[in-house]
């Protein structure tokens, strides 16, 4: 493939997903500047390895896998522990969630109707990485379990259990946030 054709092919196949790639980078880094750098690094890596992309497959999922790898490598390079992979942190988080305000009197469907977009974002960003990525990939990006398994490099069973744990924690985080907003004096 000539270089111009290759550039056009990359533009058509990969660059069209920039919004989604940036958004996933933002959910990983939770920081706009870092997300922009991560998105750029993802595209440069993807471009270098574009010959390894199988045109019949989902390019967006391929980009997501590259992005995730780049992010994890970045954390390791900085000598940081990869957050959300540490069992201790997960347990602390689950305990913290359990210690929050008690369940609302109203049924939870009613509660979910009162959630505002900003709370959804805040609740999700609170989740440890492995749950956050499972929920974002499944529910925001609407990836299949098989795609999530490939992106995160884990078996399908792990995807299923992380997603169910993640959704449960998300619901709990939303409950806490809505209650804090609606009944500030009664909380803690």
């Amino acid at each position: 493939m000539g270089s111009q054709a290759r550039g056009q092919e990359f533009e058509d196949q990969a660059l069209v997903h920039l919004d989604r790639v940036f958004h996933l980078a933002l959910r990983f880094t939770r920081n706009r500047t870092e997300a922009e750098d991560l998105a750029q690094e993802t595209y440069l890596r993807a471009f270098t390895h574009f010959d390894q992309f199988d045109p019949g497959t989902n390019c967006r999922a391929w980009l997501f896998a590259i992005l995730r790898n780049a992010f994890i490598n970045q954390l390791k390079r900085r000598g940081r522990e990869v957050p959300g992979l540490d069992e201790g942190e997960l347990e602390r988080f689950e305990t913290e969630m359990a210690d929050g305000p008690g369940p609302l009197e109203s049924p939870e469907e009613e509660l979910l109707k009162r959630v505002v977009g900003a709370e959804l974002l805040a609740a999700l960003d609170r989740l440890p990485l492995i749950f956050r990525e499972a929920v974002v990939l499944a529910d925001v990006e609407e990836c299949s379990y098989k795609e999530i398994a490939q992106i995160c490099g884990v078996p399908m069973g792990t995807v299923m259990s992380r997603l169910s744990r993640g959704r449960r924690l998300l619901r709990r985080a939303l409950e806490i946030l809505v209650r804090e907003r609606e009944e500030p004096r009664r909380v803690r």
Binding site: S3, H23, Y43, R78, E109, V115, A118, Y145
Partner: protein, 266 residues
């Protein structure tokens, strides 16, 4: 299927990810179990909420241009037959294999994370065709570009007497701090000069180095020579696949330049 079994795969059932027999069993259970129906409805409600109400943010317009530019430069660099702008591994692959096999164990100790990160950055940027955000051979222009972008003065040394040419500069980050990154080249070798606030960083020191210059910490990491030192409130690092002598000469040039600009005791 029991309630407990169903609850374990409720989300997967909702997502249409169960195989046919499990999916049929789940439906059969749901048809008569009111409490599971309620849980299923709750699960669906949450999923719908995230799918429809999550604030999806698009990429800033400037990012697309930035990536297009970076890709165009990478494209020029990877065109078949065209040499890479910089060769970042000066050592033959066999030497790398030897290091991987444990020759590295002979070193006194493994390089600190800061050193490894700097070398990784150098390697990453040398793979790109033109990683500089400001491309200029003018010391003044590059120093001026950093004004207001980093919270410290960036001195841009002149290595031209050693045949090392200024390419430009860019911003980088190191353990969450801002780094002024200057890029130079000699032939196909990239020379990276990093300057960053030293405070709070665990930096190696050159003290105790046998036969070396006590001002500078030197190491060879993944085939790249590294020289690191601190001067005033900043730390400096030079990384390149040039030989150690040339790099130490550059370090000395920077040392004298900074020394001449920093009032004593500052």
């Amino acid at each position: 299927m029991t309630c407990q079994e169903l609850r374990a795969c409720l989300g997967a059932h909702l997502d249409g990810e169960l195989d046919l027999s499990l999916s049929l069993a789940a439906d059969e259970h749901l048809a008569f179990c009111v409490s599971c129906q309620w849980a299923y409805a709750g699960e669906r409600e949450l999923r719908t909420l995230v799918r429809t109400r999550f604030p999806r943010e698009g990429a800033p317009a400037a990012l697309q241009e930035r990536i297009r530019g970076a890709l165009a430069r990478a494209e020029r660099g990877t065109r078949i037959g065209a040499p890479r702008r910089w060769s970042y591994w000066a050592v033959p692959a066999a030497a790398l294999v030897l290091v991987a096999l444990g020759v590295g164990l002979w070193q006194r100790s493994a390089p600190p994370p800061v050193v490894r990160e700097l070398v990784a950055k150098h390697a990453m940027y040398s793979r790109l065709d033109a990683p500089a955000e400001i491309v200029s051979a003018s010391q003044e222009a590059v120093a001026g570009w950093f004004k207001g972008k980093v919270r410290f003065d960036v001195a841009v040394p002149d290595f031209s007497p050693s045949g090392i040419r200024l390419v430009g500069g860019r911003l980088a980050d190191l353990s969450d701090r801002q780094v002024a990154y200057l890029l130079y080249e000699k032939g196909r070798n990239l020379v990276s000069l990093f300057a960053f606030p030293r405070r709070g960083l665990a930096l190696p020191s050159g003290e105790g180095a046998s036969g070396g210059d006590a001002r500078f910490y030197v190491a060879k990491v993944n085939g790249a020579e590294v020289v690191i030192w601190t001067q005033g409130p900043l730390a400096y690092a030079l990384v390149s696949s040039l030989d150690r002598e040339s790099l130490l000469e550059c370090a000395d040039t920077v040392w004298r330049l900074i020394g001449s600009r920093t009032p004593p005791g500052a």
